[in-house]
Amino acid sequence: MKKVLIANRGEIALRILRAAKELGIKTVVAHSTADEKSLPVLLADEAICIGPPPSGQSYLNIPNLLSAAIVTGADAIHPGYGFLAENATFAEMCREHGITFIGPTPENMRALGDKATARKVAREAGVPTVPGTDELGSVEEAKRAAQEIGYPVILKASAGGGGRGMRVVHTEEELERAVLQAQEEARAAFGNPAVYLEKYIEEPKHIEIQVLGDGERVVHLWERDCSIQRRHQKLLEEAPSLLPEETRRAIAEAARRLAEHVGYVSAGTLEFLVDKEGNFYFIEMNTRIQVEHPVTEMITGIDLVQAQFRIAQGEKLWLKQEEIQVRGHAIEVRVNAEDPEKGFRPSIGKVETLLFPGGPGIRVDSHLYAGYQIPPHYDSLIAKILAWAPTREEAIRRMERALSETVIEGPGLKTTIPFHQKVLQNAFFRRGAVYTNFVARRMEM
């Protein structure tokens, strides 16, 4: 591999560029006209414009991206996350054009691409998923299923999404009425009364396992706790989690086994819900590098993006499972250009004063520079700030210190830093009482 086309933007484009530079691979950054003056473009060996600002015409424009790789002589494409990262067709077209797609195989993506298929694969590999039914034929069927699964259960509309038609049921007495109401709601909302039933997991932790595979062997790099979310958007991640050692091992090994079962290639993440008793349920796999991957890099010392490059070049896994040792604790906050006081409304503008934190245990991944105009066309992530320390308590205090010295200012520009400062000060957070509804319940946001 001599030259890689980076088919992404923002901090992840910069992250990939850094990995490539360290490996001695030349970089071409594909960019839209809106990103002409972005930091990855300024730091790349080459840059090529692939379309106008809307991502449909640029970062999702497969012909222009492939063409850009071909005309610049790039022999590989790194898709980053989002955009085309999990598009099996794109990965296949790269292959057809003799360009190495740095990521999983199209077959991997298809095996794990949608939740239903992924659940089937998980069951094959003996990995637990959230117990549930198909469409319910009758109230009696619902009763039998609920008894088997165990209360509480949740009714969900087959055609649904976004919480409509959902109903949590705690006892059999409530069930009949709930099924009828849920069906009525589903009919009203989606024109289809079909509902199904799933185990309801109360206040689960969102735990994900990082894996690396070479198509034959897979190793895990332990877990990240991503429970601090707002409306399913992750805001703060940390590793390791506070789960008991044996639960951590069990989840990690289950994830490793599942990924190995599908012959997984490259970096990937398996997401689990974990209940208060330590039962865990596989939900889905992200077949890409993730925003929060640096958390794992900080505790393991392993460069995941460089690993993606090496695996894509055909290198067999150089890591044995027992060599992957966790040291200390890492926390990442996602700094978004959003106003947390106004419902996390996007807040774009020009960065006039910029000062990132430094010193021991701090890592910053950001494409900002003083004078940079944040374009309105893309997502609002402007920086990831990470703190590492020997213990969680020290990492929290270090992160507080780091945020207190960070300055990202410009006319009208707001960031989520004040929100993160509140999370870090929250007594429940400090003692590790985190779960997916933490932000709603403990911060009332």
Binding site: L39, I48, C49, P52, N64, S67, V71, Y372, G412
Partner: protein
């Protein structure tokens, strides 16, 4: 706000005959009132140069980080139409390889100085083995061909300057 920015604002006031301005932003509040508009006009010598030839407002330059040492610095792209006022730029609508002729041994579609009609093929851009014909958007004279045969072109890259007739 820099003095340069303020100056630009004031120039704008003059140009637009504004006599009073109040501007409040999170960072500043600006109030400007201009008296004696009539005089400005009646004794034109004073401010004439400014009114007559407002200095070109330069495009904002990025206070861009320079990759030191060997790091390449993207050049501020020269605007080709500077060379040919009134010309129309034909830009690449896709990424690919620019060819002036349909085949290696065929004559080029157009040469500098040629007269072209709207819709006439000017070149092809090869992208993923497909030949895409690029047509002229105007009728006119081909003043300049900006790309060499066989060169890669990026999205939006100027290819031709055409003087409409």
């Amino acid at each position: 706000m820099t003095p340069k920015e303020l100056k630009q604002i004031l120039q704008a006031l003059v140009e637009h005959g504004v006599s009073e301005l109040t501007l409040e932003t999170p960072d500043y509040k600006l109030t400007v009132r201009r008296g004696g508009e009539v005089q400005v006009v009646s004794v034109p010598q004073v401010q004439a140069p400014i009114l007559a030839a407002p200095p070109e407002v330069p495009a904002p330059t990025p206070p861009a980080p320079a990759a030191p040492a060997a790091g390449p610095q993207p050049q501020a792209k020269a605007e080709p139409q500077d060379d040919c006022p009134g010309c129309v730029e034909v830009r690449a609508p896709i990424v690919g390889t620019f060819y002036r002729a349909p085949a290696p041994d065929a004559p080029p579609y157009v040469k500098e100085g040629d007269r072209v009609e709207k819709g006439q093929v000017l070149c092809i851009i090869e992208a993923m083995k497909l030949m895409n014909e690029i047509e002229s958007e105007v009728s006119g004279i081909v003043k300049k061909i900006l790309v060499e045969n066989g060169e890669p072109v990026e999205y939006g890259q100027p290819l031709f300057l055409i003087q409409p007739v």
